[in-house]
């Protein structure tokens, strides 16, 4: 299971990359999340210009097993969405850390964000539970 060191993680299995001194962010789902969901066949892309609140639903995606929500790790405004995922949702399976879902600006609150090491420990705990 891949957990890149340069990203931060949520307990609901999203990754977030903060940049421009924390004013902007990209968000995606983790390797653990895509592995649990199985083959992803659809993702609803949110609209550019929408505001999102940390911890609330950002969007949802669908695999052959289930539909699941993706929660926003941060509050902010959506300034870009990864249109490529509309036609190729399988990118979330094959390269989840390249397949960003949204880009956010005007970042406000965040949920509790974990380092790569802390997230790895959390995933182990989840698997053993």
């Amino acid at each position: 299971m891949r957990i890149p060191q340069d990203l931060q993680y949520t307990k609901s299995h999203e990754w977030v990359k903060l940049y421009d001194e924390g004013t902007k962010a990209k968000v995606g789902i983790t390797d653990f999340a895509q592995n649990q969901m199985g083959d992803i066949v659809f993702i609803t892309l949110p609209e550019v210009g929408n505001s999102v609140t940390a911890e609330e639903t950002l969007t949802d995606f669908e695999s052959v097993k289930a539909v699941s929500d993706i929660y926003s790790p941060v509050s902010g405004d959506i300034c870009a969405v990864n249109e490529e995922l509309a036609d190729a949702p399988e990118l979330l399976n094959t390269d989840p850390y390249a397949a960003w879902i949204v880009e956010l600006e005007n970042i406000g609150d965040t949920v509790e964000l974990l380092s790569a090491d802390a997230y790895e420990a959390y995933c182990k705990e989840q698997e053993e539970a």
């Binding site: 083959d39 066949v41 659809f42 669908e62 052959v64 097993k65 289930a66 539909v67 399988e90």
Partner: protein, 479 residues
């Protein structure tokens, strides 16, 4: 592959020869509304059509073909007597707008079905209008909303749903304009009372709950659960999907619920899906009755039957009176079994599930310990880790044993879940055969996992590419 009906078509072949038009009706229709091309319909003889559908029927699997333990769906045998009742001309050859005096028998059936379903659920009034379970949920939530608004309680806009709920619960709540709060289950799969207490408040509209829950457990705290919600000013909605485990034994109304929907196509032995249609009657306590949809059949003082129009009705949720013939079949079932029979059926469904669970637990891990109700959930997580054989593989392999797989990957709180509901209408012999098949598949998973990845081998269609179908759907014939 067998041919599509369009591929069997031969130009000019007909089922029947229509007479010459007595008048040129085209002259009465505006020219821009007239069709200029013939409809592209298949052209076949009656014999061709009959063979086509018989061939398709042979390739499918229904309750009449074999074991069908699809969890949470209650695929019980549908007695032929129900069908005999539903084809009586007095029920079939009628029109929804014909004079009441000429359909008194139909109204009586509806009134009696309403009365018995109210008695069975412990409710005061029942509408037969909703067309299926989720439609019933939506209707029940609209009742709750109409009631809360009539009380000026506009801030109550949240529906609490446990994480073990059917996926339709949060979907129906959202459709009805509520927002959803998810409450995690405790370690045994029951509603966590502390988390529920923390979740309720001035914004609580209602709790939606299935009992027995989707893990097949009867929530022993049910009276406390409904009290917590009522004390906070919210209402309690009972999802009747799992009523078969307790019908005739306990009543949702006595558990503290205010609204309930039933699935006549589950508990009351009417056919499912395309062969149905479904029917999702909604029962409620008297304070919600003024808001019921449509019209209710009622007996007048002079012994005749007429319509009762609820005063503050939310309006129709379906045309006319719902799927009336399904209500005929359900009433036939209720009257055939009687109060004792319904309770005996529920008890037998629980016994059958426990009998099968006990045999399977020799190899398979169960999601929870102890006795189950009418269904049980297995977790194949460990098997998958050890052998690579998934719940999907086991489900597909069962097709080679001429039985329908159980429900897969539900409830979501159990990983690699298989949910088995044998129902009361299966014999001990069938359950023993099923147990042998499940246990043999488990042994094959350990000795020859590759053979299970390739299953099914004996069905007309082998392993289908579900991912390919979802990612690159081809929805049009002939492309």
């Amino acid at each position: 592959m067998s041919m599509l009906i369009f591929e069997r078509s031969s130009a000019g072949r007909r089922l029947s020869i229509l007479p010459e038009k007595p008048v040129e009706i085209e002259q009465y229709i505006p020219s821009e509304c007239l069709r200029r091309q013939d409809l592209d319909l298949p052209q076949l003889s009656e014999n061709d059509i009959s063979r086509h559908y018989t061939e398709l029927a042979k390739r499918s699997h229904g309750v009449n073909d074999g074991f069908y333990p699809l969890g949470s769906c209650t695929m019980k045998y549908n007695p032929k007597l129900n069908e005999a009742m539903a084809v009586l001309p007095g029920f079939c050859d009628i029109h929804p707008l014909q004079p009441l005096a000429s359909i008194q028998g139909c109204l009586q059936v509806m009134a009696e079905a309403q009365k018995y379903l109210a008695e069975i659920t412990g409710m005061d009034a029942v509408t037969l209008q909703p067309g299926a379970g989720a439609h019933g949920e939506f209707t029940g939530l609209l009742l709750i909303k109409a009631y809360l608004h009539s009380q000026g309680q506009l801030a109550r806009n949240k529906i609490i749903v446990p994480d073990s709920a059917h996926g339709t619960n949060p979907a129906s709540a959202t459709m009805a304009g509520f927002s959803v709060i998810n409450v995690p289950s405790d370690e045994e799969g029951y509603v966590d009372l502390d988390l529920l207490q923390a979740a309720v408040g001035d914004d609580t509209a209602a709790l939606m709950l299935t009992n027995p829950n989707t893990l097949g457990r009867f929530d022993k705290n049910i009276l406390q659960i409904t009290k917590i919600v009522h004390d906070a000013g919210g209402l309690c909605y009972y999802d009747g999907a799992n009523l078969n485990a307790v019908v005739g034994l306990v009543r949702p109304g006595d558990m503290g619920f205010d609204v309930v929907h039933l699935n006549l196509h589950k508990t009351f032995s009417t056919p499912h899906g395309g062969g149905g249609p479904g029917s999702g009657p909604v029962g409620c306590k008297s304070f919600l009755a003024p808001f019921l949809p449509g019209r209710l059949a009622m007996e007048e003082e002079d012994g005749t039957y007429g319509w009762l129009l609820p005063e503050q009705s939310i309006g129709d949720v379906k045309a006319f009176y719902g799927n009336f013939l399904v209500a005929v079949k359900a009433l036939s079932y209720i009257l055939t079994l009687g109060a004792d029979g319904l309770a005996a059926a529920a008890s037998q469904s629980v016994l059958n599930a426990n009998y099968l669970m006990k045999q399977l637990s020799a190899s398979y891990d169960m999601a929870c310990d102890g006795l189950c109700m009418h269904e049980f959930v297995m977790s194949l997580e460990k098997l998958k880790q050890q052998t690579g054989v998934s719940a999907m593989d086991v489900a597909k392999a069962l097709l080679d044993y001429q039985m329908h797989p159980p429900t897969m990957y539900f409830p979501l709180i159990v990983h690699e879940a298989l949910m088995v509901e044998p129902t009361e209408t299966e014999s001990k012999e069938t359950l023993d055969q099923a147990a042998q098949a499940y246990l043999e598949i488990y042994r094959r998973a350990c000795s020859d996992p590759e053979s299970l990845h390739k299953a099914p081998q004996t069905t007309p269609v082998g392993r289908v590419d579900e991912v390919g179908a979802a990612r690159n759907p081809r929805l049009k014939f002939g492309d």
